[in-house]
């Protein structure tokens, strides 16, 4: 059973949270995530969920309380964006290092300064090495589907790592979309009951969580965490398969759009991939063999699989909605390029940084990227490895 509804991304994310029915949600409102916390508070106060809601005084405390709740044996969630995620930074590493399966929607927004409330990926990209799994969505349907799958991915015994469910601020969070909601009981069955292995609340088996871990053990624990990250890919695929049976919607590590016979392609993540699909369709009509690789699982990075999918291209453009100020390109570019190098693939790779602070990226601009790629193939030269797209210079 599922239901066709028209909802905003934030509304549908709160619906996912209602259906997951976490034991504890500790959260702090921030634009553009606010509606998630507001709507969910209403569910709590109307008795629609069993959740204890902890309305903290900051995001730092929201993540800290979520860690306390999760370590206690509760299924715990929070949600944030931008500076809120930045304020959580310290505790993000503690959540993953403590191996707590917390799920957190992140409504992607540009980091200050200057202050800006609109979409880019500087928030989540900054946290890409914090040990959290990162899933990205093209639209609200995917964000909803990712949130439900994230619970199962995070809580898998071979993983036990927290997940950020990313969703582009305003573009997805505030736009109304036609989509399918699963039935409440189907979501409940899918995520199942959470049974923590060593909860703080088990009086018969007291446990010390977060001890001082020095030279003689810290490294081994980080190694275990790295092994857990290695396990993520397989679990993501397993969970996707199970979810497809339930929803009829197919998910992988990334989506290949007209990539099979493509000569030039774009790699991107988030809502821009929807725009890119239109560009691909337009170009295909004009005989250009254009394709798209849409990354869903960005952390841990499925390097081999992505490189394999791109290996037969002539040239590829990686789109980054975040600056690293390294002068060598954005974060996704660095990962994709390294993956191609490891594969020994003879594919020219260039980088476009776009959409910072919510700057709109139009179909024609993405089409121009493909035109650049064609020129690179034709001339066999790359003039600008890293470009900024859609900006006044």
């Amino acid at each position: 059973m599922s239901e066709q509804v028209a909802l905003t991304g934030n509304e549908v994310m709160s619906q996912a949270m209602r259906q997951i029915n976490p034991d504890v949600v500790a959260a702090y409102p921030i634009t553009p995530q606010t509606a998630i916390v507001q709507t969910f508070s209403q569910f709590v106060n109307d008795g629609d969920v069993d959740t204890e809601f902890v309305p903290t005084e900051s995001e730092h405390s929201a993540m800290s309380a979520t860690v306390g709740a999760s370590a206690s044996g509760a299924r715990a969630m929070t949600a944030t964006a931008a500076n809120g995620l930045a304020l959580m930074w310290e505790v993000l590493y503690i959540a993953s290092g403590t191996r707590l399966p917390i799920v957190m929607p992140v409504v992607n927004r540009a980091l200050s300064g200057p202050i800006n409330i609109h979409c880019d990926h500087s928030d989540a990209m900054g946290a890409r090495d914090s040990g959290w799994i990162q899933l990205y969505a093209e639209n609200a349907q995917e964000a909803y589907d990712n949130a439900i799958q994230a619970v199962k991915i995070s809580e898998n015994k071979d993983v036990m790592l927290p997940t950020m469910v990313n969703m582009d601020g305003f573009i997805i969070s505030h736009a109304v979309e036609n989509l399918n909601l699963l039935a409440d009981e189907d979501v409940q069955d899918f995520v199942g009951e959470y049974h923590a292995e060593n909860p703080l609340l088990d009086s018969e088996n007291p446990v010390t969580v977060g001890p001082l871990d020095l030279q003689d053990f810290y490294f081994e624990h980080k190694m275990q965490q790295a092994v857990a990250a290695e396990n993520v890919k397989d679990v993501v695929l397993e969970v996707a398969e199970e979810y497809e049976e339930l929803s009829g919607r197919e998910y992988g590590l990334f989506e290949e759009y007209k990539l099979d016979d493509a000569e030039v392609a774009v790699v991107a993540l988030g809502s821009t991939t929807g725009t890119a699909k239109t560009a691909v369709d337009n170009l295909r009509e004009n005989g250009v063999k254009a394709g798209l690789s849409k990354i869903r699982l960005y952390r841990p990075f499925p390097a081999e699989e992505i490189a394999e999918a791109l290996a037969d291209l002539e040239a590829v453009a990686v789109m980054d909605r975040a600056e690293t100020f390294s002068t060598t390109g954005g974060p996704v570019f660095a990962d994709v390029r390294a993956a191609l190098y490891d594969m020994g693939a003879d594919v020219e790779a260039v980088n476009y940084i776009y959409g910072l602070g919510g700057r709109d990226l139009k179909v024609e601009e993405i089409e121009s990227v493909y035109k650049d790629l064609e020129e690179i193939v034709e001339t066999n030269t790359v003039e600008d490895r890293v470009q900024h797209l859609g900006v006044r210079e």
Partner: protein
């Protein structure tokens, strides 16, 4: 009321073998608080001496469940644990043995007065059923004696050193217990290890009330105070006798004085036992001692008034 003898006979919930320094007040305070609890507990500690000394992996001195998250967030962390307990209990997901629990947060003055202040204030306002215990040794002792907002005026610390121009810390300590009381929570107290019965009684009250409770306990740090380890408990009596550290409690807004020295001692009795105040006794710093005495007198009179103990004027 449990006698001190009974408490001493009871099983320790903070076991020996931890690495706290000899003469450290934090260990004494923690054992007394833990032994006053009647339920299995979830204990949290802010980063600090207590935390690093009691949980060096793969060892732990804690017989109860324990969590360390970070420096500034023990109140938020324990509030999350308490919320988890409420949620799972309400849903009937807890074993019977886990239904009655105490939630205790320990923080030093750094984790309480300073970096953890916001997290504490938030948790108190939200009304979690938890007991927050501050072991106040008046500086960041874990990192090597840096000033905090609990450091007394005139004290020499590594970031407020007694110098040629500046004679140690220039500011008075902030009255954290009063600030917590201003949150209007059910129970707030200031206690001291030299009165263990009073401390245990306060801890029991803190556990009994429904909602947040806060106990601020003076905890000697011989390293930071430059005091003799064998005088650690005695020195906390001097703190009360000089009225530097008054013992009182605030129950639903009602202030009560718990210790009135027979004879109020001069502040120099407190200062002269500690090397951190040694420079104040140089002739050029005499004014500092006078100022400190005036400040203590003023504060003591305020406490007396709040507790209804002031003499009729």
């Amino acid at each position: 009321m449990m006698s001190l003898k009974d408490i001493a006979k009871g099983e320790d919930r903070l076991s020996g073998g931890h690495r706290l320094c000899s003469g450290c007040g934090a260990g004494t305070v923690t054992r007394l608080i833990m032994n006053a609890s009647d339920n299995p507990a979830v204990v949290g500690a802010a980063t600090g001496c207590l935390e690093v000394s009691t949980t060096i992996y793969p060892y732990t001195a804690w017989e109860d469940s324990f969590i360390h998250n970070a420096f500034e967030n023990v109140a938020a962390t324990i509030s999350g644990a308490e919320a988890a307990h409420r949620s799972l209990k309400k849903q009937g997901k807890l074993k019977e043995a886990d239904e009655d629990k105490d939630f205790i947060a320990f923080g030093g003055d750094g984790g309480t007065y300073d970096i953890g202040f916001q997290s504490l204030s938030g948790a108190l306002e939200r009304g979690h059923d938890m007991v927050y215990v501050c072991y106040d040794n008046g500086a960041y002792m874990n990192t090597g004696i840096q000033r905090s907002s609990a450091t007394p005026k005139g004290a020499s610390t590594t970031t407020s050193p007694a110098g040629e121009e500046v004679p140690g810390k220039e500011q008075y300590r902030k009255e954290m217990t009063d600030i917590v009381a201003a949150h209007g929570i059910p129970y707030v107290a200031q206690a001291s290890p030299f009165k263990p019965n009073d401390l245990i009684r306060k801890a029991k009250k803190a556990f009994e009330v429904d909602g947040p409770a806060f106990i601020n306990v003076l905890a000697t740090c011989p390293r930071g105070w430059r005091s003799k380890t064998e005088e650690s408990i005695e020195i906390t009596k001097v703190a009360a006798d000089t009225c530097f550290w008054p013992l009182f409690e605030v129950e639903d807004g009602e202030w009560t004085l718990n210790y009135k020295p027979k004879e109020k001692k001069p502040i120099t009795d407190w200062l002269e036992r500690q090397g951190r105040f040694k420079h104040l006794f140089k002739p050029k710093n005499k004014h500092m001692i006078e100022e400190i005495q005036e400040h203590v007198d003023k504060r003591w009179n305020e406490i007396l008034k709040k507790c209804g103990e002031a003499e009729e004027e």
